[in-house]
């Protein structure tokens, strides 16, 4: 039992627990707070995957910016407890649960039957390559992925202008 496996197990368990709380929480505020916790635990798993930069982006952009936007909108709309989240078993819930369980079963079987590959990429090699560091990822983005990067910046501008246009009652 090595430390990596223990950390993975703890983070995975906490991620699934808080993701379940997002779905089953009564009020949207507690859903949002559980989602923040989910993002933090996922960032821990990303660090285990040698993705330090993505983990930092996860905390800054997801847990920071996007969730603040969500909380702001929830409080702006002043939504109280949602009334329709009792423990009733409606037809749509049973169908939704069956669909999700079916998809999970298919995915797990597919992953199980995936051809086993010997992992040659070890930690020492990753450290030598600077794998997952901001410098190396930045170099990749600005050389191989420059056009998609610029397209994303345009997309964010369009999203910003569009949000103002849609949410404003009269311009």
């Amino acid at each position: 039992m090595n430390i990596e496996l223990i950390l993975f197990g703890a983070f995975a368990l906490l991620t699934l627990l808080s993701a379940g709380l997002v779905i089953f929480a009564k009020s949207p505020i507690s859903s949002a707070m559980s989602l923040v916790a989910t993002f933090f635990f996922l960032a821990g798993i990303y660090v285990l995957l040698w993705a330090h930069t993505v983990a930092v982006l996860q905390v800054l952009v997801y847990a920071g910016a996007i969730m603040v936007l969500f909380l702001f909108v929830i409080m702006l709309l002043n939504l109280g407890e949602s009334t329709s989240t009792g423990p009733r078993l409606t037809l749509s819930r049973i169908a939704g649960g069956a669909a999700a369980a079916g998809l999970l079963a298919v995915l797990v079987v597919a992953i199980w039957r995936m051809p086993e590959r010997v992992e040659t990429f070890t930690g020492a090699q990753a450290v030598a390559n600077g794998f997952g560091t901001l410098a190396v990822i930045g170099q990749t983005i600005y050389t191989k992925w420059l056009l998609p990067f610029e397209a994303v910046s345009l997309l964010l501008l369009v999203g910003m202008v569009g949000a103002v246009v849609v949410a404003k009652s009269r311009i």
Partner: protein
């Protein structure tokens, strides 16, 4: 060393939880949050395969997914505000104008 399939199974479970939430919750904001869960499951898969192959393309894809999710959240929440202003509700059962 944790096998790559553990990460993939965690991502599959997270994706199915998000899908379950989208299917059963009726509050538009919570549905959006569940979509974010599904996007994160996709990111986790990208990063797991990036580690397996020692290739940075997965990291770049995760970066783009995060940027697109930010744009999606801003537009989606603006639409929710606009709908709430005209209908007074965010319950997606009561918003059925586009249902034939």
């Amino acid at each position: 060393m944790v096998p790559i399939s553990y990460y993939l199974i965690l991502a599959a479970a997270l994706f199915c939880l998000g899908m379950f939430g989208v299917l059963i919750r009726r509050n538009a904001l919570v549905v959006f949050m569940c979509v974010e869960l599904m996007l994160n499951a996709a990111n986790l898969t990208f990063l797991a395969f990036a580690k397996q192959n020692g290739d940075l393309t997965g990291h770049v894809s995760a970066f783009f997914v995060i940027a697109v999710a930010a744009a999606e959240a801003s537009i989606g929440l603006a639409i929710v505000i606009a709908v709430f202003r005209s209908r007074g509700t965010v319950n997606i059962d009561e918003i059925r104008t586009m249902k034939h």
